[in-house]
C-alpha cells in the first residue's frame, strides 16, 4: 500500500488492526443506500481530512484517530452530514443521510 495514495474500494471486508480507529457506515437517502457519493472526513475544527467514494451499497470507511469527526457526503441528489465520536481504537459506526 505504500506506493498508493488513491482511495481503495469501499465496502469490502478488512481486518482492523488492534490500535486502529475505524469510522465506517453507509450513505443513504429516503429510498436506500447511495453509491457514488463523495464522502468527506472533517476533523473537530471542520478541516478536511480525507475523502472516499461510497460503494454501490453506500459503504464508506476511514482510518482516523480518537476524537470527534464529521462525515459529510456530497451527491448529485443532495448532501448531508453526521457526527461521530471515537473514544478509542475499534470500529465506530456512523450513518449519513443525504437529501
Amino acid at each position: 500500500m505504500s506506493d498508493s495514495c488513491g482511495a481503495p474500494v469501499q465496502g469490502v471486508e478488512v481486518e482492523v488492526g488492534s490500535g486502529e480507529v475505524v469510522l465506517t457506515g453507509k450513505v443513504s437517502d429516503s429510498s436506500g443506500p447511495v453509491g457514488g457519493a463523495f464522502v468527506r472526513l472533517l476533523d473537530a475544527s471542520g478541516e478536511f481530512t480525507a475523502e472516499v467514494v461510497s460503494s454501490p451499497q453506500g459503504d464508506f470507511r476511514f482510518y482516523a484517530a480518537p476524537g470527534t469527526w464529521t462525515i459529510r457526503a456530497l451527491h448529485r441528489s443532495g448532501n448531508g452530514q453526521a457526527s461521530v465520536s471515537a473514544d478509542g481504537p475499534g470500529v465506530h459506526p456512523v450513518e449519513v443521510a443525504v437529501a
Binding site: A7, L41, R76
Partner: protein, 281 residues
C-alpha cells in the same frame, strides 16, 4: 500564465467533447472508475501501470512516454485535458508529468470527476479508439522536479511546503486517513517545512479556489514568495496538486515537486526530521 491557460471548466469541457485537437484523458490509480463510465471520448491512463517504471521507483523514461502517448493517439499539437478522481490528484500528477516531458498544451478539468458527476454531466462506457500517433517527448524538465539531495540542501533556505494532512505532518499518522496505517518509515516532516494541506487549495466540489484565496492561504502559512519552493507529500501526487496551484495558478517561478516525498525522505538514514506542529510556540 493565467488560469484560463491551465484550467478548463466542466461546462467548457462538455461543449468541447468533439472539438478536433482536444483530447480528454482520465488519469487514475484505480481505473475501474473509468471502466464504469467516463467522459464521452476520453481515453484513460493508468497512473500506476502506465506512468511508473515497473521495476525501479521512477517514471517511465522518455522513450516509454513517447510510446505510451503514441499508442493512446495523443499528438504533440493536441490540447490535452486531464481529469480524474480523488480531487484530481493523479490528474494533477499527470499534468506535472506532461510538463516534465515538454507537452505544450495541457490543461486540468477544474474539479475533475467529482465536479463532473455532481453536475450530473454525461458519462458513458463506449470503447474509445484513437488512431496511433508518433509522439515525440522532450528531455525531462528538471526545473520542476526535485530530488532528495536538493531537498536536504534546501532546508532553511527554500519554502518547503508539506501538503499532507496535519496529523501526517505532526507525525501522528503515516498515511492519509482513508488508508490503512501500515508504513514502516519514520513519521514527521522536513525541518522548517510549512504545512498547507493540499485540500486548502480546493473547494468542496474539487474545483480550485480563486487566486486571491490561494495567495492568502499560502501567505498566512508563511510562504515566502521571494524564495524558491519545493512541495512534497507522501508519494508526490497531492503535492502535484499544490505545485499546480503555486506554479500554474499563482505564477510562482521556481517551484519543484519532490516526487520521492515522505516515503523516500522518511526512510533516509541520517537526515533531520521534525515532529509536532512545526509552529513556534
Amino acid at each position: 500564465m493565467s488560469r484560463e491557460d491551465v484550467l478548463v471548466s466542466a461546462a467548457w469541457s462538455e461543449e468541447n467533447l468533439n472539438t478536433p485537437g482536444v483530447v480528454f484523458v482520465e488519469v487514475d490509480e484505480d481505473t475501474t472508475a473509468y471502466d464504469g463510465g467516463h467522459i464521452p471520448g476520453a481515453v484513460k491512463i493508468d497512473w500506476k501501470n502506465e506512468l511508473q517504471d515497473p521495476v525501479r521507483r521512477d517514471f517511465v523514461d522518455r522513450a516509454g512516454f513517447e510510446k505510451l502517448l503514441s499508442a493512446k493517439g495523443i499528438a504533440n499539437d493536441d490540447t490535452v485535458v486531464l481529469y480524474g478522481g480523488n480531487n484530481n490528484w493523479f490528474a494533477a500528477y499527470a499534468y506535472w508529468y506532461f510538463k516534465l516531458y515538454g507537452h505544450q498544451s495541457v490543461k486540468l478539468l477544474d474539479g475533475g470527476r467529482k465536479k463532473w458527476e455532481l453536475d450530473g454531466r454525461p458519462l458513458d462506457k463506449e470503447p474509445v479508439e484513437r488512431a496511433a500517433t508518433e509522439y515525440k517527448a522532450q528531455e525531462q524538465d528538471l526545473s520542476i522536479r526535485a530530488f532528495r539531495d536538493e531537498v536536504v540542501e534546501s532546508i532553511g533556505n527554500r519554502n518547503l511546503v508539506d501538503v499532507r494532512s496535519p496529523d501526517e505532518f505532526s507525525g501522528k499518522l503515516l498515511a492519509p486517513a482513508h488508508l490503512p496505517q501500515e508504513q514502516a518509515q519514520r513519521a514527521g516532516h522536513i525541518p522548517g517545512a510549512i504545512n498547507v494541506p493540499w485540500s486548502k487549495a480546493a473547494n468542496e466540489d474539487g474545483t480550485f479556489k480563486s487566486d486571491e484565496e490561494l495567495a492568502e492561504i499560502y501567505g498566512e502559512a508563511g510562504f515566502d514568495g521571494s524564495r524558491k519552493t519545493i512541495a512534497y507529500c507522501r508519494i508526490g501526487e497531492r503535492s502535484s496538486h499544490t505545485w499546480f496551484a503555486l506554479h500554474e495558478l499563482l505564477g510562482h517561478q521556481d517551484v519543484k515537486n519532490y516526487d520521492g516525498s515522505w516515503t523516500e525522505y522518511g526512510s533516509l538514514v541520517g537526515v533531520p526530521v521534525e515532529l509536532g506542529s512545526g509552529k513556534e510556540a
